[in-house]
Symmetry: C2
Subunit: 351 residues, 2 copies
């Protein structure tokens, strides 16, 4: 879907990164290190940056963590968001420490304290994300509306009114649920009611495969409808993988073209080459590459030539050999034992 098909939101800034207002969808992640351990946190952020993470969030469970943000920021080159729950003092400390943005949860900080936080954010030009989460809604909302889409939207609308009254300029909204249909429904509803940029995510999405499925369904459906300005895929485990999945979603929908796309067949009884091995090797060699090109690795003559013709570089396999394609045109026959060397040569020389 072209950018022009996306819902227009107002543009905001988080550090040097613009979100909304027709800007490309921004990819975020969150560290899993102890934020007080500056060295470990910076190390993980460097790995995230390398993978293409554009904004990073860190947990702020206490004042030491809030104060650590200053030291972390000096050593990295992407904006940092402080993740705040329960205690508004932590938000104020994170703002003082120079956090580019804070995420506050309106479900566990009172309105009175949120107003104090909003005033400090406005004064310091700190971005604010209102991070509504089905697992931690305001008690009265939970009692009256449960934990479904209506409840998430009610929490967000209250928070937006409060932040706008307080004059916060850079405001983003998220409404996360671990239930995909609830999350889709909530974002559709809020999108119709505000022009604040939306941060999309399925919360507590689980381990890699489970999260790939839930995040692609939830984040992807909304992006495909034109909703969403920044995304975070949540995976139990190494956050670097969150970034890869996020770009995979954007690439598959044609929203952002970052990294190689490998088209490969599922190797049925027709397959005459060791395709799984080939694809896994090529994937491993290209891990972390941000170069965008479409590579077709196909095991037989049914769809092989057709897919290879639509790709930038392709191999259509036959018995112990294959035809190399470049920009959709067959170039020459290659022996199976030379596939990897030939393909990597083509990829390295691309553009």
């Amino acid at each position: 879907m072209p950018v022009s098909g996306r819902k227009k939101t107002r543009a905001v800034s988080v550090g040097g990164v613009r979100i909304g207002g027709g800007e490309p969808v921004v990819v975020q992640s969150m560290t899993s290190t102890d934020t007080r351990n500056v060295r470990a946190t910076v190390g993980q952020i460097h790995r995230l940056e390398k993978a293409g993470c554009e904004i990073v969030r860190v947990a702020v469970p206490d004042l030491t963590a809030a104060r650590a943000i200053d030291g972390i920021r000096r050593k990295i080159s992407i904006p940092v968001i402080a993740d705040i729950h329960f205690d508004y003092h932590l938000a104020l400390a994170a703002i003082s420490a120079g956090a580019d943005g804070i995420r506050v949860n309106p479900g566990n900080i009172s309105r009175e304290k949120l107003r104090i936080v909003a005033a400090a954010a406005r004064e310091n030009g700190t971005a604010v994300r209102l991070g509504v989460n089905a697992g931690s809604l305001e008690k009265d909302i939970r009692r009256g509306l449960g934990t479904g889409a209506e409840a998430l939207v009610e929490s967000a609308m209250r928070g937006i009114a409060l932040m706008e009254e307080a004059g916060v300029k850079s405001l983003k909204i998220s409404l996360k649920s671990s239930d995909v249909p609830t999350m889709i429904d909530a974002y559709r509803k809020i999108s119709a009611r505000t022009d604040c940029p939306l941060h999309l995510g399925v919360t507590e999405a689980g381990t890699l495969i489970q999260s790939c499925i839930k995040s692609s369904l939830g984040i992807g459906s909304l992006l495909y409808e034109g909703i969403g300005d920044t995304i975070r895929v949540s995976i139990t485990g190494d956050p670097v993988r969150e970034v890869g999945v996020a770009y995979g979603i954007l690439r598959a929908l044609g929203i952002r073209s970052v990294g190689p796309e490998i088209v490969s067949c599922p190797t049925c009884g027709r397959c005459e080459i060791d395709l799984s091995r080939l694809v896994n090797k090529i994937e491993k060699k290209l891990a972390g590459s941000r170069k965008h090109l479409k590579i077709a690795l196909m095991g037989c003559v049914v769809n092989g030539p057709g897919e290879a013709a639509d790709a930038d570089i392709g191999i259509a396999g036959g018995r112990g050999a294959g035809v190399l394609f470049r920009k959709g045109k067959p170039v020459r026959k290659v022996r199976e034992e030379d596939f990897i060397e030939v393909l990597m040569g083509e990829i390295d020389n691309w553009k």
Copy 2:
């Protein structure tokens, strides 16, 4: 999305399995073995059956493979589809060998030959899937319309007319592309023009993670709109994983509740227990389980109690310990070293 929200298609039968007409969405896969090797193929199908595969397709590259279907069918308990390309004799041989269905590709078998196949299928009560694929479209369609959604739909509409004229009763349609937006667009268009049941899939979707993303986006978006009667996730590698991902998509959308759903947080700097290890262990223990229940494994007190309260069984972790939840109610405190034993006991005793 409830079944009532799904587009009504006509019901067809493939062996003993009903597809369309409001039946639950059927999960398919395809073997990667050499079909002529009956023992290996049957072995793989047994693993697929155990994972929940409801219809299996086998490649039929030659007459020996077609004839092997008889022996394969005798040893398995789900319907078999013969995957046919190029040579209509193979379709006729597969029908004679008792295939429950055949998949023909209108892009590589002439209309004249397709009519002969259709007549044989009608006489034998064999189901037919018209499997249109962007990688192998009819030459004149490719020349006139390219390989986009319009081209896929044109190929399918021609094929449907031919099959219906020939009196084929059990007809299904697929329009696969390796490009997700093309595939979504094509299925939406064909869905508006026919009431034949639709078999959804993203073709050549790549290895596990890539395919999880593309299949969830493509298959999932359509299912969520109410389109699609049977699905196949295509993964380069072991097909058993295709079945797990397929059920993951259906479960996440609330379309079919098969297998456990694990809600787990991404372990930020707040996490006070070794959650990744816990989740991976529980996932491994539950691999292949078809028992449906929602298990929340949460690392801290932000969303932990909320998610645990929405789950069938849950642990909300704190420092070196956690609270066990059952049917949304806190039951007792559990030490971290006892998490797995206690959780598995709860899961085994469930219902």
